[in-house]
Amino acid sequence: MELSGKTALVTGGRQGIGRTIVETFVDHGAVVHTCGRDAKTPSLPKGGHWHQTDVARVDDVAQLGALLGTLDIVVNNAGIQIEKTVTDSTDDDWDTVMGANARGVFNICREFIPRMHKGGSIINIGSISGKVADPGMALYNASKAFVHGLTRSIAVDHGPDIRCNAICPGWIETGMLEAGFNLADDPKRARSDALLRHATRRFGQPEDVAAMALWLASDASSFATGQCYTLDGGLTAASPLNPGLS
């Protein structure tokens, strides 16, 4: 199995994409640690271990580092989305979004890079929103662009010992996406309109992201570093202006 004998940390593995990455890594032979702000341990597959850690807090991350020791794979998945423009965003919104998505990724990388084995792989979850803007998501978009920039810096500064790449998902079918459609005037129409904008005519599944994370975690990707790989069913390959759908 690709990840036999390897130990991984996946932040934010309680649900959604993170949860599926935890399951996939366990299935492929890794020992997987995951963490979140919840004290309550979620049910995890055998080989998965839960830790209560807020990645935005340096002390929490230092404690986690001391507890886990050395690692082979780090997946910075934990993230928070707040749907506001710049002028609507509060100081608290800044702390929440940038705390988890930017500071959190930095905290984890700073703590764990010295703890990673040679040949280790860091996988950051960026977003297509870090490359092109989603309306009304200013801080989220900016936080993901931070992730992309940090990804390149780590690859450059900490190669050849460690590789670092980002996955930039588009629309992935999680609870978050469904909640978005339910806010539309006509949820059914919103869903079919969104599907038509994807060359694949489907949204992504958490398994799609986990499959790429598995490849990036494995030695099969040993020449890949410093890249931000988009995984979006072709959404951003097409012009924002899709006149047929106007």
Binding site: I128, P135, G180, F181, P240, L241, P243, L245
Partner: protein, 258 residues
């Protein structure tokens, strides 16, 4: 005094929608302009019949030009066509034709303009070559496959030319317009590829405006403004870049109807 006083400029596609606006702006800025095109529109600049696919004609043109001008400061490669088809419905003849005009024509025109461009390299801003790419060289509009491919080629050619000829004092940049109100855009709206089935032309145009952060599409003059800057000595440090100008269109993800 105009920004291009004392400069000479050669604009291919100089009688087209955007090319005509460029010639007109160059003339107002004091340049001596040749509008090179297949047919005359009676617009700005002195017209020269010019076919970017005819190598012998291009050689003749620049030999003749060298007798009248001691240097060429500005070359704008704006000649281009669009084919509104998927690859499945594009014939080899159409494919070869669009590459011959949009890519090979740029190569040939630039190749034979180089000796005259080098003679302008001593000016404060150097010589300036401005190629027409497109935001379609980055992301695709549906049913424009060959066009998108030619524009991607233009972007790569622009960087290659900038690297090769920068040391000779020739700056090479590309402009990548989004939707600009030209005959080509009107043809796109009216064609099947626009997907405007069942909508009136005005409804389709309004829908297109609404998707732009600036809530409008561009005018040829907007593009000429940027061309003018890149042609001027103020842009003396600008080289090898792809300048997107699209009202913010490609800064965003596709706009879902939520």
């Amino acid at each position: 005094m105009g920004a291009l006083e004392g400069k000479t400029a050669f604009v291919t596609g100089g009688c087209g929608g955007i090319g005509a606006a460029i010639c007109s702006r160059f003339e107002r800025e004091g340049a001596d302009v040749i509008a090179a095109d297949i047919s005359d529109n009676g617009g700005a600049g002195s017209f020269r019949q010019f076919d970017v696919t005819d190598e012998a004609g291009i050689i003749n043109t620049f030999e003749e030009l060298a007798r009248n001008w001691d240097k060429l400061d500005i070359l704008v490669n704006a000649a281009g066509i669009e084919i509104e088809e998927t690859i499945e419905n594009t014939t080899l003849e159409q494919w070869n034709r669009i590459f011959a005009i949009n890519v090979t024509g740029m190569f040939l025109t630039s190749k034979y303009a180089l000796p005259l461009l080098r003679k302008a390299s001593g000016s404060p801003g150097g010589a300036s070559v401005i190629n027409f790419g497109s935001y379609d060289g980055y992301i695709a509009d549906p049913g424009l496959a060959a066009y998108c491919a030619t524009k991607g080629a233009v972007h790569a050619l622009t960087k290659a030319m900038a690297c090769d000829h920068g040391p000779e004092g020739i700056r090479v940049n590309a402009i990548c317009p989004g939707y600009v109100d030209t005959p080509m855009l009107q043809s796109f709206f009216e064609g099947e590829g626009s997907g405007g089935d069942g909508q009136t032309l005005e409804a389709l145009q309004q829908a297109v405006r609404d998707v732009h952060p600036m809530r409008t599409y561009g005018k040829p003059e907007d593009i000429a403004n940027l061309v003018n800057w890149l042609a001027s000595d103020e842009a003396r440090y600008a080289a090898g870049q792809l300048w997107v100008i699209d009202g913010g269109l490609s800064a965003q993800v596709q706009q879902m109807k939520l």
